[in-house]
Symmetry: C2
Subunit: 551 residues, 2 copies
Amino acid sequence: MSVRAKALYTFQSENKEEISIQENEELVIFDENSVDGWLQGENSRGERGLFPASYVHIIRNRSGSNLTDHSLSSPGSSPGKDLSYINTTSTALPSDDDDDWDDWDETSTVVEDEDPRRGANGHSQSPYSNPNVHYRAKPYMERQDSMSSNRKGSMVGRNLNRFSSFVRSGVEAFILGDVPMMAKIAESYSIEMGPRGPQWKENPQPFTCSVEDPTKQTKFKGIKTYISYRVTPSHTARPVYRRYKHFDWLYNRLLHKFTVISVPHLPEKQATGRFEEDFIEKRKRRLILWMDHMTSHPVLSQYEGFEHFLMCGDDKQWKLGKRRAEKDEMVGAHFMLTFQIPNEHQDLQDVEERIDSFKVFAKKMDDSVMQLTHVASELVRKHLGGFRKEFQRLGNAFQSISQSFLLDPPYSSDALSNAISHTGRTYENIGEMFAEQPKYDLFHMLDKLSLYQGLLSNFPDIIHLQKGAFAKVKESQRMSDEGKMDQEEANGIRKRCRTVGFALQAEMNHFHQRREVDFKEMMQAYLRQQIAFYQRVGQQLERTLRMYDSL
Amino acid sequence: MSVRAKALYTFQSENKEEISIQENEELVIFDENSVDGWLQGENSRGERGLFPASYVHIIRNRSGSNLTDHSLSSPGSSPGKDLSYINTTSTALPSDDDDDWDDWDETSTVVEDEDPRRGANGHSQSPYSNPNVHYRAKPYMERQDSMSSNRKGSMVGRNLNRFSSFVRSGVEAFILGDVPMMAKIAESYSIEMGPRGPQWKENPQPFTCSVEDPTKQTKFKGIKTYISYRVTPSHTARPVYRRYKHFDWLYNRLLHKFTVISVPHLPEKQATGRFEEDFIEKRKRRLILWMDHMTSHPVLSQYEGFEHFLMCGDDKQWKLGKRRAEKDEMVGAHFMLTFQIPNEHQDLQDVEERIDSFKVFAKKMDDSVMQLTHVASELVRKHLGGFRKEFQRLGNAFQSISQSFLLDPPYSSDALSNAISHTGRTYENIGEMFAEQPKYDLFHMLDKLSLYQGLLSNFPDIIHLQKGAFAKVKESQRMSDEGKMDQEEANGIRKRCRTVGFALQAEMNHFHQRREVDFKEMMQAYLRQQIAFYQRVGQQLERTLRMYDSL
């Protein structure tokens, strides 16, 4: 039975099966039960298709309350902001894979992780979908405002806004000294002074890890289907097999634990077409980039849960390791206790300026990465559409000329006609080469840009952590000056703020290092493929030209 | 004062300043006085611009007759069917050049030539604009019907349709023996048997002729402006200077005289933008092709009027030579008397089949030339628009990335930023290269296709001449069999029909020979320029790639 609903937020469709909906638009829903967080329905323009269940209220006329926030009962996956450039053609709804948790580990203690940051940029589940907190972030909009009510009180106390990332992450508690030092901390991450300021100390056992061979697997006699990847770390050289949901489990652990670190986003979830070749290929490429970023990060690469993910090949051990990771206490605020920082004095004012400068950079880089993503996506579309079509039309027209030349037999000029026909085929072929080319260049560029969109979108919240800490330092110093606080307590706050500052600078430093390597590599790879492309086209045309020599 | 008018025919705008009008559409005309055959006005969709005066009736409410056929008073130039691909940007109306005849030769005896074929395909003046014949051809539509009333009578007599090309050209009169053999015929063109049937005997003094250096000239103290071309025949090596209107005078002489020969069309007239560089360049290129075709033709190249055009450098001599050409008696029907044909017997049935086969070929070639013209014109537009834009956008996006990298000074990575910025400029440059490329390849292809559109559009009428002659032969033979005609008279008709058949076959043969040469050359030139283009792009990218090596 179809029911009426109202759009809470504007949603832009990104795949063929999806439809766009406008905030406040009235919708008809064909089936109230969402599948994988998606509902099927019709918008006010008569378009039919899928949209995220969490974006709509279902309107119930019979009950007293006529709005039910569907998002509370269904943690739908809100789509990321990067452009999906692969057309999916299947319209069947998926029945399995990304979101089912019932096969390996039915007794999982963590069904939905609370995510301290993820979601503010619209990626994956919303962090605000805790049913106890009747509140839902609008994608893209909350981030800049999350600190707005931070400076209200004149006391150095808890912030009133329980949803600011500063509070949620536990950094506030850490700064205020509410996180007790623990007797024994096994984990430790060092920050050292490098040529360009604080930096993470390298992983003493660096390694890489391949992600290969996505293979369709079935279980329960073919009822459930999923894709398994072969994951092989370089230091063990022993492959393990992982599904997207295992990556997703690990990702949620990372978000939970690693305050002040920009955790790379997983490739986006997708409602439809998950078993199509193009999608599988794209996800694989992006998992490889994700994995490269993980292994390159001095802190993330040393995480015990990551080690477990990379090495465990036994079902029972897997379960135990998962439990252990989920019970890890050194998460959020406690994670801040694991840092070893240098003794160097850093003026807090200087640190603040460094961070402001990074913030301006990150905003501009985010914008320009977005711009390049748009242009490259459009270019893909042109390659598959306009470019291909133009060259194929040219090829057809040459073919047609060639055919006409055969029609007056005494003058049929077979050789010329043959050469022109061959030229026609060459241009048809060039059209196909244009359509194929994005696989060799633009797709890889878009993959890397997508990774960077994710990384960059984490920084505003991370920078806010530092800003919150600064505010506490200033407040406590003022209170100490006014005799309202022990100088010792104020010194403690300042000291812990230094820790946050060092960590953030180390993370900024790491980001810049990776950025240089990644963008150099991205540009080189793109240019090499472009050169090879234009050379191939030229060679095809040269071979074709030679056919006219003998005429 | 603006007046109302009604469109007599549909006109498709081909330039920016022109507007399309539909048959029977009501129009507003801003000024009744046409300029160079064009009126300015507004159509029913509110579009304002130029359209041919000859396509509309002006509606006079005050007079008894409310329709004035504007075409009778103004022999407007109806646009050809080939696509104009150069955007003109000037909106000023031309004041001179193509159509003024008042400078060299005010006393010209021929103001408007009657053109036996030209116009049926919509090119240039209509052949039907003789004010004594209140009749006007619809462009594109009359050709196929011109013979429809040909076989009415049971007598071998004059056809009733005075507008059929068979009648107008004088070929009917020739076939029926109404053109008396003249005492002394100075002109003579031989047809000989070649390996592929009848062919024109080569010009014993073959030559070529260059058309160069279009130069803007003024006279009457700058009031009149025109373009002059340097025309240099190879056998004299002495340049003469000619304007478009002189070409046009010659062209009209050719049409008048050369029955059964496919006279190449002149590049089209254009109402606006005639002094713009692109237009001048395009006209020059097409005059060169026209000239090449003229000098390559064994009959046309030997025409006395052509010799006069190529050699006369003296104003007085020019006038005398023009008069002589205009008084030439060996035109139309009489031109048929100048042929020397071989003695070989050709079965009339076989000849008819040969011609039918050519007709099928010519139709298909005409269609495919049109198709290729469309595709190539569209490709030009894409080069100037879409292709250029896409690459420039890509370049801009790279520039933007490069700029963002400079914003966090400790990590500004100048060298990488510089290389990416250079990559951005390279792609902007590649965008410009795409926009420039049609000048090197597609324009030349379109020029040649336009020439062939003209040549091919002549053939239906020429073939109808032969068909008319066949019909007369069959009719006369039947009458002779029934005793209603002397066998001798019937034999005379058959003999003269042989002459027409030989001439047409020679012309077909010549067309095929040129076609082979021209299309081979066109394809080779296109491929060579395409190869050079893709190589240049590749080289630019290679130089750019090298900038990353030192990073």
